[in-house]
């Protein structure tokens, strides 16, 4: 598997560390229910899924990767930082 890091280019998946589904992070004071859902509940879809990967053995960037969990097709990669800032500025989903 290869992931196209926006900073470094396409790299072997051995350079990346997987975290899981890219879920919106609750506010720190969002309460136990919201945090429990965030930590424990996953949709686990068969198909496209937004995921978080870190280019740990490369630039260190956290990436928001859209990947098809059935075919492993890489449908899109953006820097998580950019996606987060765009969402804050109302330019896209978190």
């Amino acid at each position: 598997m290869r992931i196209a890091c926006p900073l470094c280019g396409a790299r072997d998946r051995r350079e990346f560390t997987y975290r899981g589904a890219a879920l919106p992070v609750p506010a720190l004071d969002a309460g136990a229910e919201a945090w429990s859902v965030h930590v424990h509940l996953r949709e686990n879809p068969a198909g496209p899924l937004e995921e978080l990967w870190q280019h740990e053995l490369g630039c260190g960037a956290w990436l928001k990767v859209r990947r098809d969990t059935v075919t492993h097709a890489m449908l899109g990669v953006v820097l998580a930082e950019d996606a987060g800032l765009a969402a804050r500025d109302g330019e896209g989903p978190a």
Binding site: I3, D12, A32, V39, L52, A61, W62, A73, G84, L85
Partner: protein
Amino acid sequence: MRISGKGLISGGRRVNFSFNGVSYMGQEGDTLASALLANGVHLVGRSFKYHRPRGILTAGSEEPNALVSVGKGAAQDPNIRATQQEVFEGLVARSQNCWPSVGHDVMALNDLAAPFLGAGFYYKTFMWPAPLWEKLYEPVIRRAAGLGALSGSANTEPYEKAFAFCDLLVIGSGPAGLMAALTAGRAGADVILAEDDSRMGGRLLAEMEEIDDKPAHVWVAEVLAELAGLDNVRLMTRTAVTGAFDQGTYSALERVSHHLPPSQSLKTAHRPRECFWRIAARATVLAAGAIERPVAFRNNDRPGIMTAGAVRAYLNRWGVAPGERITLFANNDDAHRTARDLVAAGVHIAAVIDSRHDAPDGRDFSVIKGAVVCNTSGRKRLETITLRNVSGEEKIQTDCLAMSGGWNPSVHLTCHMNARPVWNRDIAAFVPRAGAVPGMVVAGAANGSLSTHAALAEGAGAAVAALGQLGITAEAPALPRACDAPYRISPLWAVPGKGRAWLDFQNDVTVKDVAQAAQENFRSVEHMKRYTTQGMATDQGKNSNVAALAVLADATGRSIAETGVTTFRPPFVPTTIAAMGAGAAGQGFKPQRYLTSHRTSLKRGAANTEVGLWYRASYFAKEGETTWRQSCDREVMMVRNAVGVCDVSTLGKIDIKGPDAAKLLDLIYTNLFSTLKIGRVRYGLMLREDGFVMDDGTTARLGQDHYVMTTTTAAAGQVMAHLEYLSQVARPDLDVRFTSVTDQWAQFAVAGPKARALIDALVAEEINGETYPFMACGAITVGGVAGRLFRISFSGEHAYEIAVPARYGEALFDLLVTRAEAEGGGAYGMEALNVLRIEKGFITHAEINGTVTAFDLGMQGMISKKKSCWGKVLSERDGLMDEDRMRLVGLKPKGAAQELSAGAHLFEPDMTVERVNDLGYVTSVGFSPTLGHMIGLAMLSAGPDRLGDTVRLVDHTRGVDTLCEVVDPVFFDPEGGRVRG
């Protein structure tokens, strides 16, 4: 028998080799198989289960029978296919799975017991009594049924692994592959052409046909010459592409020096034996050709019975006639070429038998139509075949039978990403599903296009299409003129009749076995496979799977398309673990991290211990000390009474900078860091988002926007990733950056009552209680080098950590230890460090084991009430604040044995030792020379409420069963006077 002047290797140098101890002569360019056939040797091995005599079936990597062991001693290679092993001067090869010899094999008795050894025999027979399976049945079965053996000694041959990148990977160098490579090469694309064989050309080397009015092999040579002249084309022979993976990643095994005498390869020429490649290809043309399948009939496994295409290959490429009276048995037009070529070469054809009533006539040979071969004879070499047609049965004398049940396109790689091939009735074979592997275009025989003309055309077209996906424009070269004879076939899988008819030669699976599986309701092709072991040998059933499932389809009354195929998985050819794991044996298994003090520590008697990837001094043995405990006890007392020096550089060090550094630290730590004064250090605790403790450590504020964090050695990587996660994902708005500087700074703890004097005398600055109170930090100069000083302690003593750039580490460590020794102190290692911290009740990852909360550690007070932090919400869940949770306590031995053991579990003294009564477990223990007895830390249910209680400590592993007293985890100097003094 070699035919003088025939073949592509004619005129080559003679080479001597030995097989089963007998010396033979071969020719440069021979495989072991072609050389043995040239010498009239057909009996090459014994079959897996029945120990039947077996010969050479094929001429390629799909060979199921002719597996041999090559070489001697530690480098002995078992299960090498004789059809791939090239002969060289001095080659030594042996048959396997036979004793005492391939000619007289004692285990051939199995063949007589065949009626009892059918499918499922092992499952049914060795069921009971169960304990005997592991001890008796399995070892005996494994010894009787088997392949070659390893030498038993460690292999010292070098193996290599490598990465390659290209625009277009072309797999296979037959007509389709060559045209694809030529098309892409001329277009300037970066091309890798990978060929399993030692020579490029594929079937064109094995056929008597013309391309552009030239012999096919001449055309091949011309194309190769052009490709070799292109800088953008890389030709890789002896390289089998073994797997197709995501995003155009392919694995390949290159047999780098199997074809060279040991003296010429390895150590002298620095060649590895094999190289395991990972190839990242933007696009791929699969031109892997097709594999001919045998027909199943009674005793179709005798030496001398081969596939028709193999007989043709031995004749046309290697100039070898595998027999003197050859017969042919086929169900398709293609196989008739074998008879044609043999006749042209002057080899006697005893009979050409075609199962089709409408088979074409031969020009130079007569064809017996509508007939089948129903039996054979000859124990170690084929002697007769029995022909059956409407008029009855007839025996024919023959020493070689060329058989063909048709060709199976090599669809394997197209299935590696879960696609299933499609049944094509016209050629009675499975062909690749379109788009099976993203970026891959299939061409030629692999695509079911079985003429040379079609292969050439598809190869060029495939390259144009594949490169088109990449935006590279390529033009198909003028299509050379080539044979476009139709491939007519009428399916014939198994000849009906009594007796055993082999499907899978390598695993000894017969038509009967498959029928029996169906009868016992293993009707799914995947169940049949596992019940009969069809296709589960090292050849993965390359030439038998389709026939087996056709037999299954017949037995279950379904069509072949309905029955489906088993799953083809990587690797396409057997791959040695040595190649896949190249570089990872021994010290290459994982990186080793050495401290700057490593060498000088060893000189000072250090015994090393592994801490993650790091090597750290465990203790420093002085003269007269015979056990680690003596050294450890001395080092502990040295720190308590004088001064000790310890390398603590393995702790993670993270440089944190930015206007929002303080905000980020307030987010990650449970306690406040924005309030920390410049020049001060604070101990901090961080939680995972589920509320459990992630790590602890100290963070120093060096400037308004500049902190340096230390993590535990174990969690350095995890904390770094966590910081990046928080700043990039959770709070991308924060302006802060992190740099790991663990390797850049060497850092040493200097601890003990004499530490201040030592540091004060060493550094340029004045160090006293006012300039450096407890938890102060700042810049210092030591020997003209700019460094940092932290007044922190992990021992409970008055202590400092002094840091300098790593290149000065060794010198500073030497200096510190020398000065400490002058004061009655010296270096101390991990053992002493551990005892010192247990005496103080300080925690490490033995306690922070992923299941404990700040509450469990008695540190709930460190979770600031003034702010939120990562993980705080979930750390406050009811269950995590329960008084009865296992919580940190100290333990003191009470029994006569005075023993404690880490990992032991704790029980009430009057309760039985069983899971339900488990109260907790011991995390750390050590002998405290300060207190004169063992001490331990433990997680005990309601622990802090039970101080003074007696609990029973049981460690079944070490045989410890003793009583101990629950005490406060801080054993020594609970007021902390020493550390502040």
